[in-house]
């Protein structure tokens, strides 16, 4: 398995102008591809655009009539979603949990990945495979013993407990990816650093981290979206409304207000925007030379 260091999601685009004969300078063979691209984008974004459209629909018009584009758009749903139902509270909880999960996972995984990438030590591959093995077992399968463990540790209904579980579930894949990236960094850089008297932590902080920044950014995006969207674990561990994260709060919202579709979709849009923004920001680093999962 190798992790390529070539841009993938965002290869520098071919110039639009003058790239060949044909309409708008688009190569002829590209035209049918463009049609397919538009269809793929419609398929992917359609349901989400529909959600956005519904969120601007006056509440009375929902359910009972099919609406594609609201005739009298209103932001009332957003006002209601944000001010009632402690929705802003759920938003903050999700933000705290996701950011803390990203920070802790990335730090701990970097330390471990550095050990795997740069040291020889007894049991090295065994320990590595112990980490990898859990990738073959769905995390959700551990919900019951994790629930009892959190109960014993008095970490039920606590955001800190949730963060610990999220860190544990994100560590293996992150270590696996970062090991590959760290191994790709030439050792000579590090040796000259060591010659200047740098210790292990300084090598990691002032050499490896800056060089692996694109990889760390992309990995952070993956962890952020996983933590932001996680539902079953939060549903199981958190039981007081003031500690709900967004997915649990949204699921609860629909249970309590079965008819309040407008505010629900407004809340859904608010819940979806941050994770899409984080993804779009991370595209920059996809471009600067990292592709995850180029596992051939």
């Amino acid at each position: 398995m190798a992790i390529a260091t070539e841009p993938v999601l965002a290869k520098p685009e071919a110039p639009l102008k003058g790239s060949g004969p044909g309409l708008f300078g688009i190569k002829r063979r590209n035209r049918s591809r463009l049609v397919i691209a538009v269809l793929l984008a419609l398929f992917s974004l359609g349901p989400l655009l529909y959600m956005v459209s519904l969120s601007f629909q006056p509440n009375g018009g929902l359910l009972g009539a099919t609406v594609l584009i609201p005739t009298h758009p209103t932001v009332q749903n957003y006002v209601q979603a944000w001010t009632e139902n402690s929705f802003s509270r759920y938003f903050m909880n999700s933000l705290i949990v996701s950011i803390a999960t990203v920070i802790i996972t990335v730090i701990f995984a970097s330390l471990a990945a550095f050990a795997f990438a740069r040291y020889k030590f007894p049991m090295k591959e065994v320990i590595f495979y112990v980490f990898l093995a859990s990738l073959a077992v769905p995390n959700l399968l551990l919900l019951i013993p994790q629930f009892l463990l959190m109960d014993r540790l008095h970490l039920l209904d606590s955001l800190f407990g949730l963060i610990l579980l999220y860190v544990a579930s994100n560590l293996p894949f992150t270590i696996f990816l970062l090991r590959g990236f760290f191994e790709a960094i030439p050792k000579e850089y590090e040796e000259s650093f060591r010659m200047d008297g740098a210790g292990t932590l300084r090598v990691l902080v002032s050499l490896i981290v800056p060089l692996a920044l694109p990889a760390l950014a992309v990995v952070s995006m993956f962890i952020f979206s996983a933590a932001w969207d996680e539902f079953p674990v939060a549903l199981t561990m958190i039981n007081s409304g003031s500690h709900y994260t967004l997915p649990v709060g949204l699921a609860d919202f629909i249970g309590v207000h079965t008819v309040a579709w407008g505010p629900f979709f407004a809340a859904s849009v608010i819940a979806t925007v941050p994770v899409i923004v984080v993804f779009l920001i991370s595209l920059r680093w996809f471009r600067s030379g990292v592709s995850l999962g180029a596992i051939r």
Binding site: K120, A168, L171, F279
Partner: protein, 317 residues
């Protein structure tokens, strides 16, 4: 890895005095301990919250476990396991989970590979199309489950309007209330949300095929379908394995979309193994039984992943 070196061979020498003061024995200890110290934080969390629960769960599965403090937990031997094999809902849930895997995984992979083949670099706006295809992956399962519920609602749902347009009269199919239409909604949603993930991995894999390989095949006059069969597909076999294994593991834990859209109903007919396990544990408080179900599933999935990786590795040789 064979090419890793022990960097502590170049000891930190801040000043000559400091170096000579350090005893060689302490130095060797430090050199030995460094990688373990780096591993401690990750290992501690991982062992506590992932590895220990695996064994704890296996242990629990032999008891009639009660969550209430002070309650006795009688030892049951293998009877939780024998009960699983006589539980009709387990049969339904296994069938549904199996069907979910064989339907959603290949379709996701096919669309993902197709999208990766079409959205190449020289396509104008390739970055926009690629981002668009990936975006459903980062959305929340709870949110999109309800968006799809709404689209497939019996009154005023978008899907019924479309069907009505073709039928020529208003229809009010209650998609999510009947077993097979509800399953179809769950499959469509899961395929829609999953495509982007296999898409980016196939994109990376296709990008890694050497240009000369493709060009020489084309110069030799091979048709596009032959190029795909003999050059492209063999080159991305590793990515195909990776995607298959991870998608199957992901599909085996299908939970949120069923939990939100049908709650496993009507009459447990859309229950998956994971929703049934959850219901047994957290609604019926049959923790031992649910733990047995989870342990069994973990063993099956672990065996599957190991077998699949081995089979596809052998084909590589």
């Amino acid at each position: 890895m064979s090419n890793s070196v022990n960097l502590e061979r170049h000891p930190a020498t801040k000043s000559p005095g400091a170096a000579s003061r350090r005893s060689t024995r302490g130095h060797r200890m430090r050199r030995f301990a460094t990688p373990y110290l780096l591993l401690v934080p990750a290992l501690l969390i991982y062992l506590t919250f992932t590895v220990y629960p695996i064994f704890r769960q296996f242990d629990m599965s032999f008891y009639n476990w009660h969550i209430f403090p002070g309650a006795a937990n009688p030892f049951m031997g293998w009877s939780n396991y024998t009960a699983i094999f006589h539980d009709p809902v387990v049969r339904t849930a296994s069938f549904n989970s199996f069907l979910f895997i064989v339907i959603t995984v290949p379709i996701q992979m096919a669309i993902g590979l197709f999208a990766a083949a079409v959205l190449t670099d020289h396509l104008p706006g390739s970055m926009f199309w690629r981002a668009a295809v990936y975006i459903p992956v980062v959305t929340s399962w709870v949110v999109v489950s309800w968006v799809f519920s709404y689209i497939f609602a019996s009154q005023g749902g978008l899907m019924n309007s479309i069907v009505g347009l073709f039928a020529g009269h208003t229809v009010s199919i209650d998609w999510t209330a009947q077993t097979w239409t509800a399953n179809a909604v769950i499959w469509i949603l899961s395929i829609w949300k999953g495509v982007g993930w296999s898409f980016i991995i196939f994109l990376a894999a296709l990008d890694g095929i050497p240009r000369q390989l493709l060009e020489s095949a084309r110069i030799d006059g091979a048709s596009e379908s032959r190029v795909w069969r003999h050059v492209v597909l063999p080159s991305i076999r590793g990515a195909v394995t990776f995607v298959t294994v991870l998608l199957v593991i992901g599909a085996a834990q299908v939970f949120t979309q069923i939990f939100e859209i049908t709650k496993g109903g009507p009459y447990n007919s859309t229950q998956s193994l994971m929703t049934y396990m959850y219901q047994q544990a957290f609604s019926n408080f049959a923790f031992g039984y649910a733990a047995a179900l989870a342990s069994l599933l973990a063993v099956v999935l672990f065996g599957f992943s190991a077998a699949e990786i081995r089979i596809l590795r052998q084909q590589d040789l």
